[in-house]
């Protein structure tokens, strides 16, 4: 589904991502791990259009997307969340979801200005779909709450819901479990598994090894911007390069 070839990102003299070949297959849950600074978020930013790669190509569902604007990338079918939550704090949960769905609403500015039937129709369709989404995450009673007032766990969930609102084919989650306690992490794991059942392809960056090892179909490991290992969770756990990169601690903990 997603294919990156010889992808490189240089900032000044430093290569954050170096000659990376990387592929995500349709329908899988793919983990992306590596020590801090290994280039995971940079890779995300390149795919989602916030950075333009210095070298290399990114192809999504057969179409080249490197260098597209972030909004164009989303419209093509890739959505992402952020490491530090970037919700629209002064807007309600419902409004955040509506903004997430923006690119799938097909009315024009004129329709909005004159409140035409096209606009009403599109908003009604959006209404239905987002209502379903809210029910799925059991957040209906929170819909009128301001995003900034939500408890931390709900904010993280809203980030994911907002990304789902645009009905992407590929969902990229940047450290979705950051700051969560074990119960919240378990709930998150179930939700990500459910995403796969619903037909999403998921790319997850995470430091929580328990989560990564238990839900990912395959894992890619980065270090200093290069790929050092790729494969099924059990293969990664035993991989000498990976163990060396992490100094063995975290990987052994989850075995």
């Amino acid at each position: 589904m997603l294919k990156c070839e010889a992808l490189t990102m240089r900032f000044g003299g430093l290569s954050a991502v170096d000659n990376l070949d990387f592929q995500v297959n349709t329908g899988e849950i793919r983990g992306l791990i590596g020590p801090n600074g290994s280039g995971k978020t940079t890779l995300f930013n390149m795919i989602s259009g916030l950075y333009t790669p210095t070298l290399g190509s990114i192809v999504f569902e057969g179409k080249p997307i490197a260098g597209l604007r972030p909004d164009q990338v989303t419209r093509v079918g890739i959505a992402r969340t952020f490491q530090n939550i970037r919700l629209f704090g002064d807007m309600t949960v419902w409004e955040n979801l509506l903004v997430g769905r923006h690119c799938r609403l097909r009315q024009t500015v004129f329709d909005d200005l004159f409140a035409t039937s096209t606009k009403r129709r599109e908003e009604a369709v959006a209404h239905e779909k987002l209502e379903t989404l809210l029910k799925m995450f059991r957040m209906e009673r929170l819909r009128e709450e301001l995003a900034k007032n939500l408890p931390y766990g709900s904010q993280r969930e809203l980030e994911i819901m907002r990304a789902m609102a645009s009905e992407p084919h590929l969902l990229m989650l940047d450290e979705p479990a950051a700051g969560m306690n074990p119960q919240e992490t378990d709930q998150l794991m179930l939700q990500i598994k459910r995403l796969k059942e619903l037909g999403f392809t998921v790319l997850v960056v995470e430091h929580d090894m328990k989560l990564v090892m238990s839900i990912c179909d395959r894992i890619t490991v980065l270090n200093y911007g290069k790929k050092i290992a790729e494969g099924a969770p059990k293969d990664i756990q035993a991989h000498p390069e990976v163990i060396r990169a992490y100094l063995g601690k975290q990987v052994k903990d989850s075995a």
Partner: protein, 325 residues
């Protein structure tokens, strides 16, 4: 109670009714003049609100767009004998085009950079009004601008020579603008603008072309100001560069901030309140500006939604009392 007969809607209906019968309430002509100026300022404040209140980019160029609208409309009517009803939309369009031309290069700049660019633009426009004497007659301004062309409504013929007729014209325009404004703000465009104000990076990732919406807000606000300029020229029948200064842009900003940025009633309340004070308290000119300055600082810090925000909080408090009762 049906969903249309809420307290808010009743208040709105009363306000509109009051505005409609205002000229017949027996006030002196001077107060009618203030009322007309208030309506014009409401339109200007609403224009600024679109780019500053909703999209979160402060602009001090409103007076420039106001001036472009006024001069273009006046010149079209004076030199080309164009009807007001044609000149006014053209004037609004010119303001919008001006906004697009400086907006495209400057809207991607960070906050203070953009503000300075708008100040610069406003000054350049005023310099052009002042120095392009062959067209604008410089500091003397343009006199003898005709009133809006008469229209016949069957039983009555409106010539717009009188203050009352102008009042109603501007009021009707304002009400129409408010309907469209309300629609826009409560649509995905409005949501996109507010999202941009909250976090423009996250907004891009939502599939929203931030640059497009910023320019839309900027040009929309400019068009509104340009239209107001045309209305102003048709009412006062005289335009000069003195009216369109950065100080005027700041006045509009003060109205919007104190009334409440990012809401629809905010600019309305602010414009009416400040226009009334500005005109009736000319004697205390120095003192009122001292207060406005301090007020703007305190409001933006502690009460960012201004008077409108205060009223809304009050209304919520009343509402929850009623619920408990």
């Amino acid at each position: 109670m049906s969903k249309y007969v809420s307290t808010k809607n009743i208040a709105v209906a009363l306000a509109v009714a009051f505005a409609l019968i205002f000229p017949h309430l027996g006030f002196k002509a001077y107060y009618l003049h203030i009322a007309v100026l208030s309506l014009l300022n409401i339109l200007l404040a609403l224009g600024l609100n679109l780019i500053a209140g909703y999209a979160g980019q402060l602009s001090l160029a409103q007076a420039g767009f106001f001036g472009i609208g006024a001069y273009v409309s006046a010149l079209l009517m004076l030199n080309f004998k164009l009807s007001f009803w044609l000149a006014a939309p053209i004037a609004a369009l010119c303001s919008a085009l001006a906004a697009i031309s400086i907006g495209v290069p400057t809207l991607r700049l960070k906050g203070p950079y953009f503000v300075i660019s708008t100040m610069g633009f406003g000054e350049i426009v005023r310099q052009i009004f002042l120095n392009w004497q062959t067209v604008t007659r410089g500091p003397n301004g343009l006199t003898g601008i005709p009133a809006p062309d008469p229209i016949s409504l069957g039983f009555v013929r409106l010539t717009f020579e009188s203050r009352v007729e102008n009042y109603y014209l501007i009021l009707v325009v304002l009400l129409l603008v408010l309907v469209l404004y309300y629609n826009l703000v409560h649509s995905r465009v409005g949501r996109a603008l507010r999202a941009i104000r909250n976090d423009y990076i996250a907004t891009q990732v939502m599939g929203i072309h931030v640059a497009f919406y910023r320019i839309l807000a900027f040009a929309g606000g400019a068009a509104l100001s340009g239209l107001t300029g045309a209305l102003y020229a048709g009412y006062i029948r005289f335009v000069s560069p003195d009216t369109f200064t950065t100080g005027e842009s700041i006045n509009i900003l003060i109205m919007m901030v104190i009334g409440g940025m990012g809401t629809i009633i905010g600019p309305i309340i602010g414009a009416v309140f400040i226009t009334y004070l500005l005109e009736t308290m000319r004697v205390f000119a120095e003192y009122r500006l001292v207060i406005y300055g301090l007020l703007m600082f305190l409001v933006i810090l502690y009460m960012p939604k201004g008077i409108a925000g205060m009223l809304e909080a009050l209304w919520h408090r009343l509402h929850s009392w009623k619920k408990e009762a």
